[in-house]
């Protein structure tokens, strides 16, 4: 298990949780997954923890405990807003939310497919991940 992933021992330090829909049937669902990894593995590895939705819903510890303790940033890939619904239902403290179709529109970037998000999907993931990193810093009081 990597240090930036869910770990019961990591709960002593202040963290922001990243919860992505990671939906399998739309390209933007795949992009949410890439965004989450960019944030927790590259941009803010020490400040964030990835929470995977399936085990969260299955009430697997420590996920079910972490969401009640730490603030979450939620990334939804489509209008169904599954990540938001499931996170809130399972007690998450939502402090930020990305609705990716809106971001795609804002940046005028269109990913290819769910299997291969392509260069525009990668760019969308990078730009959105940067936005989330700034939001993480704000939540942790690192910037005003």
């Amino acid at each position: 298990m990597q240090s930036n992933q869910v770990n019961a021992q990591s709960t002593e330090t202040e963290k922001v949780l990243i919860i992505a829909c990671a939906g399998t049937d739309k390209a933007l669902g795949s992009v949410t997954r890439v965004i989450a990894f960019k944030v927790v593995e590259k941009l803010r590895p020490n400040e964030t923890t990835l929470v995977s939705i399936p085990p969260l819903v299955a009430e697997v510890k420590p996920y079910s405990e972490l969401v009640k303790k730490y603030p979450s940033i939620i990334i939804d890939g489509c209008a169904e807003r599954c990540a938001t619904k499931l996170a809130i239902k399972n007690g998450a403290k939502m402090k930020g939310r990305i609705f990716l179709p809106q971001s795609a529109q804002k940046y005028n970037l269109k990913p290819n497919t769910a299997f291969d998000i392509g260069p525009e999907g990668e760019e969308l993931a990078e730009k959105t991940a940067q936005e989330i990193a700034v939001q993480v810093d704000k939540l942790l009081g690192k910037v005003s």
Partner: protein, 138 residues
């Protein structure tokens, strides 16, 4: 009258927690897009769990295959809870025991060895799809 062709729903865990979740996702997409595009549909697990009635109704009526990354079997458990037990469950971590030399590490893009395993798992899913559809036409 033309009878509509049956479909098999594939529900993968796609978990971000373990590399096996990524393999489950890639294997599922390979089946849907390359191996059995006319015989399969994907059911989005988050949507399914969030209460997507279309997804749940499909899984109540049509056969499903759960593709889970690990022994928690979130896809199988979720499908069983809301619609009915999948006809088959494939657990990536179990299949990977056949390859002790490969240690999955990729969360995003699979390396060559992991991709090879994803292809093998996709072939296994496709075989299950054929078995299911064949048994339904008998």
């Amino acid at each position: 009258m033309t009878l509509a062709k049956d479909k098999v729903g594939i529900i993968c865990c796609s978990g971000e927690d373990l590399p096996e979740g990524t393999i489950s996702r890639v294997a599922t997409r390979l089946v849907l897009e390359k191996l059995r595009p006319d015989d399969t549909v994907t059911l989005c697990l988050p949507l399914f769990l969030a209460g997507g009635e279309d997804e749940r109704a499909f899984a109540r009526v049509f056969p499903t295959i759960a593709v889970d990354g690990c022994g928690k079997k979130c896809a199988e458990v979720g499908t069983t809870k809301y619609s009915g037990k999948p006809v088959a469950t494939i657990v990536v971590s179990e299949i990977m025991k056949k390859y002790p030399q490969v240690r999955a590490t990729s969360h995003q893009k699979l390396n060559a060895e992991e991709m090879e395993i994803a292809r093998e798992i996709a072939e296994e899913i496709a075989k299950k799809v054929d078995e299911i559809l064949c048994s339904q036409t008998k």
